[in-house]
C-alpha cells in the first residue's frame, strides 16, 4: 500500500512537470510577430557586415562607370556615385547591425 502511494505521488510530480513543460512550449511557439533575428555566430555577422559595405561601393563604381560611358562625362559621375555608394554601404552596415542587436535593448521605434 505504501508503495502504491509513493508511486502515485511520483506520477503526480511527473505530470506537474509535464504540464509546466507543455505550457512553456506553447508559450514559445506563440510568438509570431516579426522580431528580427539575433542568433547568428560572430563569423556570420562579420561576413554579413563586410559584404554590405563592399556591395554599396561596388554598386557605386559599376553604375558610375556605366553612366559615365553612356553620357561621356568621364570621371565625374563615377566620383559622385562612389561617394553615394560608400554612404549607402555604411547605411547598410548600420541597419544590419541594428537588426542583429538584441531586440529588448532598442524599442520598436527604430523602424523609421
Amino acid at each position: 500500500m505504501a508503495d502504491d502511494k509513493k508511486k502515485s505521488e511520483e506520477m503526480k510530480a511527473t505530470l506537474d512537470d509535464l504540464n509546466t513543460r507543455v505550457s512553456a512550449a506553447r508559450e514559445a511557439s506563440k510568438i509570431k510577430e516579426p522580431r528580427g533575428l539575433n542568433e547568428a555566430t560572430a563569423y556570420g555577422i562579420a561576413t554579413r557586415l563586410v559584404a554590405e559595405l563592399v556591395a554599396g561601393i561596388l554598386v557605386g563604381v559599376l553604375f558610375g562607370w556605366y553612366l559615365d560611358r553612356l553620357f561621356g562625362t568621364k570621371p565625374w559621375l563615377m566620383i559622385i556615385l562612389i561617394m553615394l555608394g560608400a554612404a549607402a554601404g555604411i547605411t547598410n552596415v548600420m541597419r544590419a547591425a541594428k537588426q542583429l542587436s538584441p531586440k529588448d535593448v532598442d524599442n520598436k521605434d527604430e523602424e523609421k
Binding site: A51, E52, G56, L58, F63, A87, A88, N92, Q99
Partner: protein, 249 residues
C-alpha cells in the same frame, strides 16, 4: 602541381550546342542535379513513413522544416508564410550545394563558388521581392526610398543613397556566398599543396607536413560551419527582404 584554383574550372561533360549557344552539361550542372536529387531523396524518403513519433531521418527532415519556418516567421511575420516553399527550396539548395562541395571523394564541384550561379539566385530573389513589393503596395512602394521626416534638401542626397542601398542587395547577397566558398576551398587546397610538397623532400619534410595537415583538419571543421552558415544567411536575408517588401519601413 595543379593550381589551387583548378577546382573551380567548369568542364563540359556532355558538349551540347544549340543555335550557337554552348549549353553543355558541365560538372557544375552535374553538381546541381546531384543536390536536387539529394534534397528530394532526403525529404521524400524521410517523410515516407509520416509517423507521429518520428524516427531519426524523419526527425532531421522536420528539423529543417521547422528551422526555416521559424526563421521566416521571425523575419517576415505570418504574411510571409506564403513564400515558405520558395525560401525552403532556396535554403536546402544552397545547403546541399555547399555540403556536397565539402565531400572528400569524387572531387565534387561547388557550384556556389561561381558568382554567375550565386548572382543568378540573388537576382531572382531581388526581382521577385521587388515585384512582391509593387504588387502588395502598388506605387506606394516607391516611398520605401524616401526616409520619413527628412527635410527636402536632404532628400536630394538621401533618396539616391537609399536607391543604391537597395540595388546593392543582390550584390552583397551573391558576393558573400561566392567569396566565402572560394576563399575556403582555395585555402584548403593551398594547405593541401603544402603537405604534398613538404613530404616530397624526405623524412624531415614529412614531419614538417604534419603542421599544415593539422591545420587542414581544423579548417575543414570551419568550412563545414561556413557551408551551413552561408546557406542560413542567404535564406535569412531573403526573409528580411521579403519582410521589407511586405511591410515596408
Amino acid at each position: 602541381m595543379a593550381s589551387p584554383l583548378d577546382q573551380f574550372t567548369v568542364k563540359p561533360w556532355v558538349p551540347i550546342e544549340v543555335a550557337g549557344y554552348d549549353i553543355s552539361f558541365t560538372n557544375s550542372a552535374a553538381a546541381m542535379v546531384a543536390s536536387v536529387i539529394v534534397i528530394t531523396v532526403f525529404v521524400t524518403m524521410g517523410m515516407r513513413k509520416n509517423a507521429l513519433v518520428p524516427g531519426r531521418w524523419q526527425s532531421s527532415v522536420e528539423m529543417c522544416y521547422e528551422f526555416v519556418a521559424k526563421m521566416l516567421g521571425d523575419a517576415a511575420g505570418p504574411e510571409g508564410r506564403k513564400y515558405f516553399p520558395f525560401v525552403f527550396t532556396l535554403f536546402m539548395f544552397v545547403l546541399a550545394a555547399n555540403l556536397i562541395g565539402m565531400l572528400p571523394w569524387l572531387h565534387p564541384f561547388t557550384f556556389t563558388s561561381h558568382i554567375a550561379v550565386t548572382f543568378a539566385m540573388a537576382a531572382f530573389v531581388f526581382i521577385g521581392v521587388t515585384l512582391i513589393g509593387f504588387i502588395t503596395h502598388g506605387f506606394k512602394f516607391l516611398t520605401f526610398f524616401v526616409p520619413h521626416g527628412a527635410p527636402w534638401y536632404l532628400l536630394l542626397i538621401l533618396v539616391p543613397i537609399e536607391i543604391i542601398s537597395y540595388l546593392s542587395r543582390p550584390i552583397s547577397l551573391s558576393v558573400r556566398l561566392f567569396a566565402n566558398m572560394v576563399a575556403g576551398h582555395t585555402m584548403l587546397k593551398v594547405f593541401g599543396g603544402f603537405v604534398v610538397s613538404l613530404s616530397a623532400i624526405g623524412a624531415a619534410g614529412v614531419a614538417g607536413a604534419l603542421f599544415p595537415l593539422a591545420f587542414i583538419v581544423a579548417l575543414t571543421g570551419l568550412e563545414l560551419l561556413v557551408a551551413c552558415l552561408q546557406a542560413y544567411v542567404f535564406a535569412m536575408l531573403t526573409c528580411l527582404y521579403l519582410n521589407d517588401a511586405l511591410h515596408m519601413h
